[in-house]
Amino acid sequence: MLDGVKALIKGLGVTSKALFEPRDTISYPEKRREYSPRFRGKHMLAKDTDGHELCVGCGLCEAVCPAHAIRVVAASAPEGNPVSWTNRYSVDYEVDLIRCIFCGMCEEACPTNAVRLTPFNELAASNRLDMIADKEELLHPPVRK
């Protein structure tokens, strides 16, 4: 019986010691961790200073993507409304975030530095379709708090 009491006291000792140690968890979402500056989260499509899209729809990201998560459909720029900085732009640009493995190869392959991986990592959705980011969504990247 004495052994039992000993063990109990020892156990409580460990617990009470841990009470005053710094905590390993944080109270998400009020508090958030600092990530590496190279962290790769959700994609975004960048624009240049004139507001023209950098993406020309070349499809290299699509070609390089090991998970086949990207779909690009390009077209000639409409008369008088150059969407991108040149005469070709992407009509559709979709990233399937369920398929994506966030390897960053699209970013590396992009010749115009249009697709970039932001640090945003809060990707949960209640619907599979919501996990496919379309062009509109990618042009307006959410900011990580």
Binding site: C58, G59, E62, A74, P111
Partner: protein
């Protein structure tokens, strides 16, 4: 034969072979831009530098012919340095455009730079700016900055096609490829320069910015628009056909396509395409429509027996589809009324059919009513290639208009309309008057003498017909009597006499193989029986009889009388309220199948995309009807149109020669006489991409007649009247049409309301539209 060593491997090749071709036989790849086997050596790009022993400097492999004991090295430090230097020069003014260039990923400049090029250039100055995405014509764009000046396009259009509509303009680094006088190129073969261009300088306008090599699927296919059946590749992306390319086949095809075939692929996406089923003018579900048609067939069989059903094949259907329809018609319905929708009365037995290989050996070419440039453009290129290589080639055109051209020069025997067969027979008679077959031919002609053809011409023609070593004839199939004369000619001559039928539909030989009758008489008989009420139900697959059959009135009468007209097709027939059911069909890119072309060659076309909407392959309809008729068809064994003995060509069946006397051609009186002919732009399914190039003035009239009628020198619209019917159409002036004749494309809508013969022409008054 010459023996040489390339990279340590010995090879023996015929004298005159270039090093680059000899290396290709060994599987050694030498980079080239300007050289093309069809165009011959030029040495403009300097990309193919190789080291030849005992030559002081690097030599261009594409212009250096092999010689005995030559030792060639295609690799090594000297060659690498040479190629690196050439590429550095080529890239000096080449823009860094690859991300927006359609050629990116399938570009030889990219590939060779990656393999042989320098890592970076030393040239610091700004690149010269030139025209980007400028037009060559409606179908081809030119980006002059990307051009490496290999001149393939210029030489193809100038030397090979013979219509020099492209040229190099400017000097030095400012040299650009452009059209002559900066007007759009009008040749039928402009699209080929897209395939020829090794870089992204010449691009397809309809394909512009649509696909990338890694997100498209390419399937081997066959062009379905004319009986040449050019080998092609279909590019599809996300279930949509977006491009056609030529598919070269070693030692047989260069992969040329005409613009009609290359850019006419979009007929499956035409806004008028039939995508839902219609029964008696009411849109309905596919299941309802199919069942309704099945019940009609059942009723007809119950009341009048299977032979009261007629089946007509047309459109772009494959041989297998025709076989499925044929089995359904024979086994389930029990009818022998199976015909092919033909526009010409002639028929050519397989035994007389030649191949394109014969053109490569020909020493004389006979154009019988058929202008290959208009009817079968790629055959025109084949004939021209033969003429370029064998300048003694004799070309003789026999028909009511001039059939030779500047690009295929020769001699013309201009006959009065419908007298060509008699002229041919009389020409034979000048040489072999004692031959029994010739005698039979001439029996009824009496002392008929053809108008406009002198006895000397007849004798000369006869000598040439019998003297030619390898006589290739292209026949338009208009006059059945000509078929008989050709059979007699083939019998008389002991030397090869291959005939190439230039008439359509594209796959008629295939449907014949599948069990349909290709004889025009059978089609006419079915229509007449329908008009007379013997045939009650007509199933039409793909054919637009109202426009295809030469006598529209008969089709109209037949459709009026028939109980049920069922049309399966891609396009709804124009304005035909008598059609009881319209069933959407699948196009050529949506089914796998075999096409048999004018040389009786079997060629497989793969399916590239899925049929859209309710469109479905013929087999689906046939199976459903077979179930409704309680006679399900079993398809365990796939039928093969191939024959083990014949290989790619249909087996030869000797055709017995039946010679009947030629009728005396009826004299046609009239100031103006209508004749019709094939024009590729007006044939097959309509396409939106082609619209800007469909001739606005398709009719052709002699300039003198035009002047007398008060027609503008640039052409204009005229009213063609014949009895009660009349047609307003555009006319252009063409000196190749003799005086007193009017030429119209036979498949232009409305032309078959008129009959070849006397007509009255008048200027069309400008119609005022509110």
């Amino acid at each position: 034969m010459i023996q040489l060593t390339i990279d340590g491997q010995e090879i023996t090749v015929p004298a005159g072979t270039m090093i680059v071709d000899a290396a290709a036989k060994l599987g050694i790849d030498i980079p080239i831009y300007c050289y093309h086997q069809a165009l011959g050596p030029l040495g403009a790009c300097r990309m193919c530098l190789v080291e030849v022993e005992k030559m002081p400097k690097l030599a261009t492999a594409c212009t250096t012919a092999v010689s005995e004991g030559m030792v060639v090295r295609s690799k090594g430090p000297a060659v690498d340095k040479g190629r690196r230097g050439v590429l550095e020069f080529l890239l000096i003014n080449h823009p860094l455009d690859c991300p927006v260039c359609d050629k990116g990923g399938e570009c030889y400049l990219q590939d060779y730079t990656f393999e042989y090029g320098p890592g970076n250039g030393r040239f610091q100055e700004p690149k010269i700016q030139k025209l980007k995405d400028g037009p060559i014509n409606e179908f081809v764009l030119v980006d002059q900055e990307r051009c490496v000046l290999c001149q393939r396009c210029v030489r193809f259009m100038g030397e090979y096609v013979g219509e020099g509509q492209l040229l190099l303009e400017g000097r030095g680094v400012e040299t650009v490829v452009t059209t002559v006088d900066h007007v759009p190129a009008t040749s039928q073969f402009t699209g080929n320069v897209i395939d020829l261009c090794p870089v992204g300088a010449l691009l397809s306008a309809p394909y512009h910015h649509k696909g990338r090599p890694w997100n498209i699927e390419r399937e081997e296919s066959v062009c379905p628009h004319c009986p040449v059946g050019c080998t092609s590749k279909v590019t599809a992306r996300e279930g949509r056909v977006i491009r056609m390319e030529g598919r070269p086949i070693p030692d047989r095809e260069w992969g040329w396509l005409c613009d009609r075939g290359r850019f006419g692929y979009d007929f499956g996406y035409h806004p008028d395409r039939l995508l839902t089923s219609w029964v008696q003018g009411v849109e309905t579900s596919a299941a309802m429509a199919t069942r309704q048609v099945g019940q009609w067939i059942q009723e007809t069989i119950n009341q009048d027996g299977g032979s009261a059903v007629g089946v007509i094949m047309g459109g772009t259907h494959t041989t297998e589809e025709a076989y499925q329809v044929q089995r359904f018609a024979r086994e389930v319905i029990g009818t022998e009324n199976l015909a092919i929708s033909r526009s010409e009365a002639g028929y050519l037995p397989r035994a007389l059919n030649g191949t394109f290989d014969d053109i490569k050996k020909a020493d004389m070419v006979l154009l019988l009513g058929s202008d290959p440039y208009d009817a079968v453009p790629v055959v025109h290129l084949k004939l021209r290639e033969r003429w370029l290589r064998y300048s003694a080639l004799k070309v003789i055109g026999i028909g009511p208009t001039r059939l030779t051209r500047d690009t295929l020069p020769g001699q013309d025997v201009i006959t009065a309309p419908e007298q060509s067969a008699a002229v041919m027979a009389l020409a034979l008679a000048t040489q072999r008057p004692e031959d029994a077959n010739v005698k039979t031919l001439l029996q009824a002609l009496g002392d008929f003498s053809p108008s406009g053809v002198s006895p000397e011409t007849l004798t000369e023609l006869g000598v040439q017909l019998l003297g030619a070593e390898h006589l290739v004839s292209l026949w338009d199939g208009m006059d059945p009597a000509m078929g008989m004369v050709l059979a007699v000619l083939a019998e008389l001559r002991e030397k090869p006499t291959p005939i190439l039928p230039t008439f359509g539909p594209a796959n008629w030989r295939g449907w014949e193989r599948a069990g349909f009758s290709a004889h025009f008489e059978d089609l006419t008989r079915i229509l007449e029986h329908a008009r007379d009420g013997i045939i009650k139900t007509l199933l039409v697959f793909g054919a637009d009889l109202m426009n295809e059959y030469p006598d529209r009135a008969l089709v109209q009468a037949a459709f009026d009388r028939l109980d049920h007209v069922v049309v399966e097709g891609v396009q709804p027939p124009e304005d035909s309220p008598q059609v009881d059911a319209l069933l959407p069909g699948a196009t050529w890119a949506e089914v796998y199948g075999t096409y048999i072309n004018m040389e009786a060659r079997l060629q497989v076309a793969m399916a590239s995309v899925q049929p859209p909407g309710q469109a479905r392959p013929v087999k689906t309809y046939v199976n459903t009807w077979a179930h409704i008729l309680s006679h399900p068809l079993a398809w365990e064994e796939d039928w093969e149109p191939f024959d083990e003995d014949s290989g790619e060509l249909l087996p030869l069946h000797p055709a017995p020669l039946h010679v009947t006397p030629l009728k005396v051609p009826a004299a046609i009186d009239g100031d103006m006489i209508l004749i019709t002919g094939a024009l590729i732009w007006e044939m097959s399914e309509p396409s939106e991409i082609l619209l800007p190039r469909i001739p606005a003035l398709p009719g052709r009239i002699n300039p003198e007649d035009a002047k007398n009628l008060g027609l503008d020198i640039h052409g204009g619209r005229m009213r063609v009247s014949q009895g009660e019917t009349s047609l307003v159409t555009g006319m252009s002036l063409d000196p190749r049409v003799p005086k007193g004749l009017l030429w119209l494309p036979q498949r232009m809508p409305g032309v078959n309301t008129l009959q070849p013969g006397p007509i009255v022409l008048s200027l069309a008054k400008e119609e005022v539209t509110a």
